[in-house]
């Protein structure tokens, strides 16, 4: 009989397919684990619905649960009860170390272009706040492109959701 803790431990070993320095648990996308009669149900919310890695993540989670000897059911919860505020402190630090500025906290109002163009975002390499928005969009829907004028490095900014 598989225990919930074992499932969380197994899921914590799955890297994010696009940003492999961070695990799915650190990314905060796993919303819940339920165990009933040898079946393990995992609820997860993708950062963006257009994330190209949703199926890869579902398959990886199902495989790890099967390895524990249980039957997996991985559900995608497509609602607004998740936000990038759920990325763990360890996850945020790993993002920063890998050259991604972590997302700003979600505010009551939606983010604006003026905010993104402001210098509120620090360069993950040198810590300077003299950074500029290059592109709202990037290699995946969850990322924007920025440039640090101090150390002259481009870097990626995790979007607030």
């Amino acid at each position: 009989m598989v225990a919930e803790e074992q499932v969380w431990e197994a899921l914590a070993e799955i890297p994010d397919p696009e940003i492999p320095v961070i695990s799915l648990v650190e990314l905060g996308v796993i919303r819940g684990v339920e165990i009933e009669d040898g079946r393990v149900r995992v609820d997860f919310t993708p950062t963006f619905l257009g994330c190209p890695a949703i199926e890869v993540m579902q398959t990886a989670m199902a495989e790890r649960i099967r390895e524990l000897g249980a039957e997996p059911e991985v559900r995608v919860l497509a609602d607004d009860s998740w936000s990038t505020d759920r990325i763990t402190p360890e996850g945020r630090e790993k993002l920063r170390e890998a050259g991604f500025a972590p997302p700003a906290p979600r505010e009551a109002g939606a983010p604006t272009l003026v905010q993104l163009q402001s210098q509120a975002f620090r360069c993950p390499y040198c810590g300077s706040s003299d950074t500029a928005l290059e592109n709202i969009f990037g290699p995946t829907p969850c990322r924007s492109l920025r440039y640090c004028r101090t150390c002259r490095q481009p870097f990626e900014q995790f979007k607030t959701i």
Binding site: L49, G50, A78, D79, N135, I136, P139, P141, I161
Partner: protein, 190 residues
């Protein structure tokens, strides 16, 4: 078909078809940053389509893929605006801005729905669309005094409400979009 399924399919078809049209800029946009932007927007719109089709598919006892690709062109419920192949920048930005404005209003209505699944999905989609709207508005502000852009907005604006009958361009797009899937027997696992 229930009113709910019809509503979901109409929005999903808009997002799928627009996603395909936006993706036509991949590799050929006038500059690299817009190549990245339109490709990312396209990917996200298709992700919204998938989530909407999945919700409709649960009710209709089918799958998102079957709804997206196994219907005939005349069964799609998308608006005329998203169907058109627009290989110039002013029309592309005009459509992008018009669509995002109309989509924002539609999402506000859906967020107030009594159906928790519909309202929840609309909330999630709306959070993501914020970034599309930011991009559309940035371009609108840049081009709003350009006569070619103003003319494109005026020309395309009425097409957002046209949902009866399709242009031949939708059939052409459908042929491209479903070509690989139609090349194998129905029920093939991909």
């Amino acid at each position: 078909m229930s009113e709910r399924a019809e509503l979901l399919l109409g929005i999903a078809d808009d997002e799928l078809v627009l996603g395909w049209r936006d993706s036509e800029w991949t590799g050929i946009a006038p500059f690299l940053e817009e190549d990245v932007a339109f490709s990312s927007i396209a990917q996200n719109e298709i992700g919204h389509a998938r989530a909407l089709y999945e919700l409709a598919a649960q009710e209709l006892g089918t799958t998102a893929d079957e709804l997206a690709f196994d219907r005939q062109p005349e069964e799609y419920r998308c608006c005329r605006l998203v169907e058109l192949r627009l290989p110039d920048w002013e029309h592309t930005i005009a459509r992008h801005w018009l669509y995002e404005e109309a989509d924002a209003a539609r999402l506000e209505r859906l967020k107030a729905s009594d159906d928790p699944e519909v309202a929840g999905l609309a909330e999630k989609i709306d959070r993501e669309e914020v970034y599309h709207r930011m991009h559309a508005q940035m371009w609108f502000d840049r081009l709003k005094d350009e006569p070619r852009f103003v003319a494109a907005v005026d020309e395309l604006r009425p097409l957002i409400d046209v949902r009866d009958g399709h242009s031949p361009e939708l059939t052409e797009l459908w042929e491209q979009m479903t070509e690989v899937r139609r090349s194998q027997p129905a029920g093939t696992t991909w």
